[in-house]
């Protein structure tokens, strides 16, 4: 009886759904409006990761994907080699300042380097609907 009355009077709260959808859609909109910001973020990200591993800067992909309730950033960063702390590996980045440069040194891949490792951040589901960010709004 109580359950019946609850169903009779109780609400599903579709405004909560609306709010959630709005939050997500605006986040996506704002990302699409800020290609420069994404480029900067990509550079910073590469800079950070390059401290530990040598990455293929020309083949980096950064995408944003909507999953159920969140917006996920998916970065595909091919790794060329691992920088060893003892100097065994090629430590190519020793400048302390995170200066985003297209570093031509990285394109010269040593022949005995490992094959590119694909590194994924936050991959969740098998089916993926890629959202390509347009370069200009």
């Amino acid at each position: 009886m109580i359950e019946f009355l609850r169903r009779l009077f109780g609400q599903q709260g579709s405004s909560a759904t609306a709010k959630e959808r709005l939050r997500l859609v605006l986040m996506t909109d704002h990302l699409e409006l800020a290609p420069e910001m994404i480029e900067t973020m990509k550079r910073d990200l590469v800079e950070l990761i390059s401290r530990y591993v040598e990455v293929d800067r020309d083949r980096i992909e950064v995408n944003f994907e909507r999953q159920d309730r969140t917006l996920a950033m998916l970065a595909n960063i091919p790794i060329l080699s691992v920088n060893r702390p003892n100097g065994n590996g090629a430590v190519t980045h020793d400048e302390p300042t995170p200066q985003p440069e297209p570093a031509p040194a990285l394109s010269a891949v040593p022949s005995d380097s490992k094959p590119p490792v694909r590194k994924r951040k936050r991959r969740r589901k098998s089916q993926r609907a890629r959202t390509e960010l347009p370069s200009t709004a």
Partner: protein, 291 residues
């Protein structure tokens, strides 16, 4: 991204406390009423705010910038009096004095109607700016009713404005479009928000975005909240803006917004109230309400 060319040839004076003291040296304020999305009530808002501002004693010119879809004359009940339109003035076929239609209900309120048989692209942005500038010399307020969209029609409507009012209904699509429009406007127009067509009962039941939901996202100065008012349909049928009836709660809400626009220190806008029905009160006992 679109760049909006604003034309601030005249420095806007901060809101004058007494509009009656029409000072010829001071330029009036040009406020564009816009939203991005269509059908949220831009034209209704323009008609009512124009009426409310003029009833405070200000001289107000309304420009219908929705070229090709003339509506503002209908809402004001002036459709039979329009002889010349905006493009006649811009293309110098009619003088401004010939084209401005005096409102039949409110003194000091004038309408410059849109052209019905033309297109939005026919307007030259520079001429629109010049027109608004000349209207600002003669009026305390120039309210520009923008067309929906963010294309040339919108940009022309915005071109001569010094401020913006954005109208938003509590819907996902409307909020998204307002967000976009505000991004296009930038800080220059200091956009202020009117939340329109709020249904307090639905908000209470958790079935409609609340004022806080909407403005928690948009984060704009809140100019007012207008309830979804059945009387609006009646007033539209008759061509008499609801602001003519200050005893009506929604009519009074338009007057409060007008006072806020004028810089008067009125209480901050509150969402319209509605009494809970008996059924709802019984329902709330069973704890079914989620907000």
């Amino acid at each position: 991204m679109h760049q909006i060319q604003a034309h601030d040839t005249v420095i806007v004076s901060p809101s004058t406390s007494s509009e009656q003291a029409a000072n010829a040296a001071k330029a009036g304020r040009a406020i564009v009423v816009t939203s991005g999305k269509g059908g949220v009530g831009k034209t209704t808002t323009t008609a009512n705010l124009g009426t409310a501002l003029a009833r405070r004693g200000a001289r107000v010119a309304l420009i219908d910038a929705d070229i090709g879809l003339r509506n503002l004359d209908i809402l004001l009940g002036l459709e039979s009096r329009v002889q010349h339109h905006l493009l006649d003035v811009l293309e110098e076929r009619a003088s401004l004095d010939d084209a401005l239609v005096a409102d039949k209900h409110t003194e000091g309120l004038f309408l410059l109607a849109a052209a019905q048989a033309r297109e939005k692209d026919d307007v030259e942005t520079a001429k629109m700016q010049a027109l608004v500038a000349s209207l600002r010399e003669r009026f305390d307020y120039v309210l520009i009713d923008s067309p929906a969209g963010i294309e040339l029609g919108f940009r022309n409507a915005v071109a001569g404005a010094t401020e913006a009012i954005v109208v938003c209904t509590p819907e996902v699509a409307a909020v998204r479009d307002v967000d976009r429009v505000v991004g296009l406007l930038g800080n220059r127009f200091r956009p202020q928000l009117i939340i329109n067509r709020l249904r307090p009962q639905l908000v209470r039941k958790g079935k409609m975005l609340s004022v806080d939901d909407v403005n928690g996202i948009l984060r704009l100065p809140l100019l007012g909240v207008i309830a979804d008012e059945p009387e609006i349909i009646v007033t539209t049928n008759r061509g008499e803006p609801l602001a003519l009836r200050a005893q009506n709660a929604t009519g009074a809400a338009y007057h409060a917004i007008a006072a806020r626009i004028a810089g008067e220190d009125v209480a901050p806008p509150v969402p319209p109230e509605s009494k809970a029905s008996i059924l709802e009160r019984i329902g709330s006992i069973f704890g079914g309400h989620r907000r």
